[in-house]
Amino acid sequence: MSTILPAEFADLEPFAERWSLRTEAERYAERLSSPMNDLQAFYDAAYPRLAAAMAYLDAFDLSSLPPEATRLLWLCYSLVNVSFPIEVWHQPRVPDSGAASMDNVLAPSV
């Protein structure tokens, strides 16, 4: 398997292809289409590593992150998104949100 994250985060490599996603739309779609078991597995692996990821990323200039660091940051964005189904809703979707949707139409480039 090819590696896409910094070597220090090899333990998160099994989740990288699926969760290292550039846009909020992709991250949110992946969350909605994933069973809770998968969300839980990702959360359980990534949450304990969040503080270390922040420390690792903060050593770089945010405007010139190396590609593997950028992918780690994207993975952290996915963790933020997935924290809601795990910590709050106990389901992928916001309860009672039915057909309601809200699109992220502009986000920072990094």
Partner: protein
């Protein structure tokens, strides 16, 4: 038990003399009433359409679909640095001037001049006509009067405002009153890291403002967004604002909350514990001189527990100023009596580190989770009030801004109808 002081009349509602009777929502369920709102409100008041940062350089433009006002506008920065607005229509035969692929979708970009897709007529950034295809075929000799139709446009605190009423004589700054003036000095211009969200909502536009202009719902609807113990405590307290202010058609509610850092770290969710951020934004306020001394409209009661101020600038613009040093805007653009487009934009100081960036990401994601919960009740409400099986609804004192919003909208319609009656009808002499 009251936790925060109220005016001496005993309630905010009586203090502002808004009446305490039950209200109707007839103004939110009638196609005919909506047509009156379009004429009386959306074609006659200052509407916020964006920020100057969206058009930083000459030739930067964006279009805005103003369905409620029955037009589309182009907002552009001219070669002279001025931001102007024009109706988005070619003077030749009325084609929409600026659009891409889909005529009803908004667009943005940079250009030296606007070129009509139909016959290639061109206009400069100040709206003057610069090229007419086969000019010699026309019967016109003075093209100076065929420039783009202008729309009144003003910039105030970096916000861009348009007014579709050509006879309007009130400046945007004047229209926004003391509440607006009291925001001067807030460092909006330093908060250029932007997230934008958009949703099509199946309710009258005023209902979503209602949802964001009261926090009475917060401990209940959003109960499970706090930890279980914290949530029980919050619903036990209920909600009371620090202060409500009303200024002409505009209003604001000042709220407590978002203790940063929390008294007990276990009061907040695990993700918030690590990132030190949440609904109220990153706990650490950015180091900005402009945040040291806040202008007078912000935290009017000067309360130490202050968390967020929500301003309602009539008709459809809300501005939320958060204690940890960022702001949020809401726009509600009606598309019919029971549909509207909601826009929520978050503005932060650009992050210096990835950790800062992640803290802002959590605030943005949290905003969306809350807004989906809020938005979701609206269609349910709209569908039932339209049945008219119940026509009177009691509002409490923490819903004072709702009373004010609906009364203001009705007053604009009454003024408009009166002005129509007062307008002398021209009677031409029989020939």
């Amino acid at each position: 038990m009251a936790h925060f002081a109220k005016p001496e009349e005993g309630s905010w509602t009586e203090h502002y003399d808004l009446g305490t009777a039950a209200v109707t929502y007839e103004d939110s369920i009638s196609p005919e009433h909506y047509e009156l709102e379009r004429e009386a409100i959306f074609k006659r008041t200052w509407l916020n359409v964006g920020r100057v940062e969206e058009v930083p350089r000459a030739g930067n433009y964006f279009t805005k679909e103003l369905d409620a006002a029955g037009t589309s506008v182009i907002v552009v920065r001219g070669g002279d640095g001025e931001v102007r607005a024009f109706h988005n229509i070619c003077r030749h035969r009325g084609n929409k001037l600026v659009w891409n692929d889909y005529p009803r979708e908004e667009t943005s970009g940079t250009c030296r001049q606007f070129t009509c897709k139909y016959h290639g007529w061109r206009y400069d950034l100040e709206g003057a006509i610069t090229f007419v295809q086969q000019e010699q075929e026309f019967f016109e000799t003075d093209w100076s009067k065929w420039g783009l139709a202008t729309v009144q446009c003003e910039v105030w605190l970096g916000f861009i405002w348009v007014n579709l009423d050509p006879d309007n004589t009130v400046s945007a700054k004047e229209y926004l009153g003391e509440l607006g003036a009291g925001l001067e000095g807030y460092p909006f211009e330093d908060m250029t890291q932007v997230y934008k969200y958009r949703a099509e909502v199946g309710s009258n536009w005023k209902l979503f403002i209602d949802a964001f202009a009261e926090f009475y719902h917060a401990p209940i609807l959003h109960a499970n967004q706090a930890t279980a113990e914290e949530s029980r405590k919050l619903s036990g307290y209920g909600y009371e604002a620090l202060a409500y202010e009303i200024d002409g058609p505009h209003s604001m509610v000042s709220s407590w909350g978002g203790m940063a850092p929390p008294k007990d770290i276990n009061m907040v969710k695990p993700i918030e514990q690590v990132l030190e951020s949440g609904l109220f934004g990153p706990w650490q306020r950015p180091d900005l001189p402009g945040l040291e001394n806040l202008p007078p409209s912000v935290n009017p009661s000067q309360h130490r527990a202050w968390g967020v101020d929500s301003f309602v600038f009539f008709p459809n613009f809300m501005l939320l100023v958060w204690a940890p040093g960022w702001y949020l805007t809401y726009h509600y653009w009606p598309t019919s009596y029971n549909t509207h487009i909601f826009e929520g934009n978050l503005y932060f100081v650009p992050p210096k580190t990835a950790s800062d960036r992640l803290r802002q990401e959590l605030a943005a994601v949290t905003f969306k989770e809350y807004a989906l919960q809020d938005g979701n009740t609206l269609e349910a409400t709209q569908s039932m009030i339209e049945t008219r099986v119940v026509t009177e609804f009691p509002l409490n004192d923490q819903e004072v801004l709702l009373r004010h919003l609906h009364r203001t909208a009705l007053a604009y319609i009454a003024d408009y109808e009166k002005s129509q009656l007062d307008t002398p009808v021209e009677i031409s002499a029989p020939s």
